[in-house]
Symmetry: C2
Subunit: 351 residues, 2 copies
DNA sequence: TTGAAAGCGCTAACAG
DNA sequence: CTGTTAGCGCTTTCAA
């Protein structure tokens, strides 16, 4: 199995006794337009097929000064989030001339930087990224050279000190969805509503926590700070949550009768921990998550949640990227996608 | 936000009044070796940094006649399988000079072909692919041009009619794992052991079903064909399984007291269907899956299964690709990775 | 209707 | 110690 050096268009041209230009024209389908004789066209096409000619994208891209690539840097492939988002993106990219190139940063700043730098060197024509906190410098670099950058899912917070990033965004309007979730708990008769989330300095994440507080305030329900837990992500998350739950449900103190959980992944971990401690759901505490991960609807789990419009987010991000490539002068495109489909399941059964 | 044409090494050279060669040498770290004066080196590096120079990979690859890319074509990003496999691959690729480029075929022949053709045009130096039945022609094309091809997870069946594909393989020795799973059922006291799988003409998939039959035969247990169901994948899987279950558990006939299920994904669907029909697990029928997907261990599900060594598979596939790139003349590398870690959970509690 | 030639950005051999 | 030069495979004028 020796590596056979790939056939080049020059080889085809030599064999056929035509020029490389002719071959190129024909293989790009410009034959008829450029009035190449039908016999020549046929001979070129036949030769290409017989020899298994595959055009060299690298050379082509260099010549055309375009890569035809859109970088997609996701956090990871966990919990079917990427699956759903990419299905949406695929719908937009598949028929077109741009190819998404997927990579993951795994919540690691170094990997994140590395993947974005790779996109820069590949001359990706746009980049869609699930952002990481504290990486504003890298994002600024993209802004500086004018490569369209689309934040997916979340976006860096708008702080007074930092220059706002004029980047585009495609994500779930999860503040609105939070209202749906928390109101559902209230409608079901829960009154002591706590919140489990993460300390994650990103705009949408913080919006969820803020929206939780607003809804409680509007309903004249107490916001008990002891019922709110926002541990740092990363590290031994499982252990951290267990500690927080132990604190909240310590004997002798009043514990929440419901918890609004930042996302389904966290909610699933929480359910396991509650199970271990024999805290019954929903009798002792009701749980609602966010996202509607595929398995949340499973009979053994039946987690109440609100559906995240992932496919739609993927489509929106893809469209934003294409629009910005077509019109580089455009203002950033911000798609706050609504999604309030409540999935009321067993974990929020009425008291 | 105008697209600023990226800085080239020629621009840097002009500004500094040195030649493009000097710039190239310095930026590739060959400065000291080639005895470029430290001042020149520093000036070049400073200029590159200040101007935000990012080397053009396209041009570099064209010149070096290597892409540095290994194509990875997976089926999809569902159920964390890709997450685990890619984590393993990352361990091998991250420190090296090759970059994995991930794409999905979504079990679609057209997309599958398209992604492999893209790899061919990109001049990927090796391709790792989760194979699809009936695509032998495409694989042969890779063999023909001598591009290392590594099948991941499963491999095309070795049929007498087809020329065997001399491709490499990295996958789970799931025939051995099947023994573990089925023996576990027997050990737990189950005797009427059925099997739910898929009709999927791939080698390892069929090996699992074959191993199931062998274990039963060795244990002198009956193999009741009515308890074996191998519906066609794709289409309305959920409905198909429901129908099969209705048949197996029709009143008045003897039904299996345990089911060996091809994989966890299928087993999870099955659990839902059994729940709907009020067939109790494990009292009415025990269930064991294959794979140990992350959520199978969740308290609400607690599916017995055997762990699939996905990370190890990813590592093995990556190593195979690298070895074959280094030594193209090598014989195909076949890694049948053992993995018999049983996860005995609630769905196979003793009768 | 086809061919000749230039050039995309980069690297490496060779010359000085 | 640095510069000159050729060329990777392809597309696209421009000329014939």
């Amino acid at each position: 199995m020796t590596i056979r050096p790939p056939v080049t268009s020059a080889m085809l041209a030599n064999q056929l006794g035509v020029s490389r230009a002719t071959v190129s024209i024909v293989l790009n389908g410009h034959g008829p337009k450029r009035k190449i004789s039908p016999t020549t066209i046929q001979r070129v096409l036949d030769a290409a097929r017989d020899q298994g000619y595959a055009p060299n994208r690298t050379a082509r891209n260099l010549r055309l000064q375009r890569s035809g690539v859109i970088g997609v840097v996701l956090a990871d492939f966990r919990m079917d989030w990427a699956e759903r988002v990419m299905r949406g993106m695929g719908e937009v990219f598949d028929p077109g001339e741009y190819t998404p190139l997927v990579a993951t940063h795994r919540w690691d700043a170094v990997r994140h930087r590395k993947e974005l730098m790779a996109a820069l060197q590949r001359r990706d024509e746009a980049v869609i990224v699930q952002p990481l906190p504290g990486q504003e410098a890298v994002y600024q670099q993209f802004m500086a050279v004018g490569i369209p950058l689309v934040f997916l899912g979340d976006r860096p917070p708008i702080t007074p000190t930092s220059t706002p990033l004029a980047a585009s965004f495609a994500g779930w309007d999860s503040a609105a969805a939070t209202r749906t979730a928390v109101r559902h708990l209230i409608d079901r008769g829960y009154r002591r509503i706590g919140h489990l989330g993460f300390h994650h300095p990103m705009h949408m994440t913080q919006e969820r926590t803020a929206a939780y507080r607003r809804v409680l305030a509007e309903a004249n329900l107490p916001v008990n700070e002891a019922w709110i837990s926002l541990p740092h992500a990363g590290g031994a998350v499982e252990g951290t949550i267990a500690t927080e739950i132990a604190r909240m449900f310590a004997p002798g103190i009043e514990h929440p009768d419901a918890l609004f959980v930042l996302n389904d992944g966290l909610a699933l971990q929480l359910l396991d921990i509650l199970d271990q401690r024999d805290i019954r759901v929903p009798q002792d505490v009701a749980i609602i998550g966010m996202g509607d991960l595929p398995l949340t609807g499973h009979s053994g789990i039946s987690l109440s949640t609100v559906r995240e419009p992932c496919e739609e987010m993927g489509r929106a991000a893809a469209h934003a990227a294409l629009s910005l490539i077509a019109e580089p002068e455009r203002a950033p495109i911000v798609s706050l996608i609504p999604g309030n489909e409540l999935r009321a399941r067993r974990t929020t059964a009425p008291v």
